[in-house]
Amino acid sequence: MSDARSEAVGKEPVAVVGIGQTKHVAARRDVSIAGLVREAAQRALLDAELSWSDIDAVVIGKAPDFFEGVMMPELYLADALGAVGKPMLRVHTAGSVGGSTALVAANLVAGRVHGTVLTLAFEKQSESNAMWGLSLPIPFQQPLLAGAGGFFAPHVRAYMRRSGAPDTVGSLVAYKDRRNALKNPWAHLHEHDITLEKVQASPMLWDPIRYSETCPSSDGACAMILTDRAGAARAPRPPAWVHGGAMRSEPTLFAGKDFVSPQAGKDCAADVYRQAGITEPRREIDAVEMYVPFSWYEPMWLENLGFAAEGEGWKLTEAGVTELDGDLPVNMSGGVLSTNPIGASGMIRFAEAALQVRGQAGEHQVEGARKALGHAYGGGAQFFSMWLVGAEPPTT
């Protein structure tokens, strides 16, 4: 039937023309959930110089509904996000959700279902207790072990043993990300007196993860306006173009799973690079916003994403390659280690990658960034979503 037709037409190029975030903080007691998301959405519209009536559809994501205690919050948020009379879709893929949500929105444009889409992700952790939300046991099923740190610490230890990395690498990442956050006005943690010694002296929470090597709990939202080629031509500021995007999942627990470098992460990155025509990620990608909720995940993901050979990721970190002024800057915004509204954290990675190639990242801009990777993961390191954005439109 129409296979020939669709292949002749091809995918519509997708452009990011508007980005908005809230100032992320521990508790936004001055706004409701609706007020929080509307703030980010309005900033994205302002950036794109569009109004609510220009939006054809809304795609919203967040982490579990138990985090705020609102079941299917898209129903309640329809009015606040100008979605009345429009399609509204709610994505939930665990910690990777912010990235997945952006990809679902991008597919609506790429598949020519809609011309201009608002996508948004949020978490208002102060409304409830995320630790409680993650700790509801069900008989005969494996729970996520009361919080994320306890689940991930053994895998960090496995990485250290496997790679021979010195135990100082984690603190280097935390020190770097917290300094980067000082250049990002939206970041939650602004630790003006941060020193490497302070990170190393902070209490041990889940050995080998120290207090200062963990993410905070934040209230915040992130929004993006995605549009087609015609929409991009009207955009007042340079767009970021989506060159590739993918999601991959694997089971939580099974004997063959490599928790240090999950196959789903490798496959997801490979798919994105294939779509984007990237053959040497280390050379061709200028900046990376990766999901690093515990500092050691930077060297681990450097390997998983193909920026370093197995066991070599920590050497890039130690050599300063991932610093803001390094050869492959990672988490220029301060990353999840400085800002973690859980459901929004993935979308912030995607949005910060887009800011970089638009040249709109302000003080944490990587000079001349042309291609940037946004990365998110979730669950028991089992759900992955990534996109690669560029300053130029995709050629294929």
Partner: protein, 351 residues
Amino acid sequence: MRPVRDVAVVAFGQTDHLRSTDELSEVEMLMPVLHEVLAATGLRTSDIGFTCSGSSDYLAGRAFSFTMALDGVGAWPPISESHVEMDGAWALYEAWTKLQTGEADTALVYSYGKSSPGSVRDVLTRQLDPYYVAPLWPDSVALAALQAQALIDAGETDEPALAGVAHRSRADAAANSHAQLSGSVARGEYVVRPLRTGDCPPVGDGAAAVILAAGEHARGLCERPAWIRGIDHRIEAHGIGVRDLTDSPSTRLAAERAGVFERPVDTAELHAPFTSQEVVLRKALDLGDDVTVNPSGGALAANPMMAAGLIRIGEAAARIHRGACDRAVAHATSGPCLQQNLVAVLEGDAR
């Protein structure tokens, strides 16, 4: 929305819907259905281009409940997969979108819900405005009763007519071996006036799965594919005080966008958990008496939360597959008093 690429439902499976399934985990409930649609097409999970599911943590009573269900798909090696915290009809919409991009040619869609562990009337209050409405615990039957009373007050229906909807649905369900309630069901006592037990859906557990395929792939997998000629969904304001509960403008708009009104349909599968909601949907979709409505018995015969909408699409498709229907409209709803509605037009090839 009218598709760039032709995509069809090529297989549909559902569980028997039961009041309680204490002995089954969600994965155990889901797996036979997944195997059923895979067997029907001869596909293995490794052949599937994209997988998407719908479910709700609030029914499971724990966060990330869908991660365990994913294990039941046999998700190794890693698969391209996503999840919506919505009815499976919206998971199907996300999968359909993915097929529109050309990045996949086939998709597996599934959804499930177990309402039996809790009180679903109470649970659904948690989806209301958390600051002003949810603290009052207005339950789903009470809200539907407001809608039913508004319809009666507007002269659009009356209690005997609503009883007629229930009677027809449950009589039709006698031919549906998966239905939870069928045959003669008494009007019953008032639950919340004017709704009686007969006007309300059964509370139950169940799962469903669908396989989608694009273009020639569909023809290779199914003798008579159910082509999705159009699919669209729209949401309305949350506050029921600002809505006209006797109408469903979101359904009408979605139907327009999906192309429902361009040619007559012979079948409609409507996700109307309450008899009164069928009245609203018939009007919004402009369905005449010549249209066969809910031949499966609809949500009044089985309403597994999160799957009942996907089942409407599946039931419509299955009728096309077996030649009982040529052009059908399928509808799914979410939220109080039909707040959010999805409409799809399904067609079989001309015979």
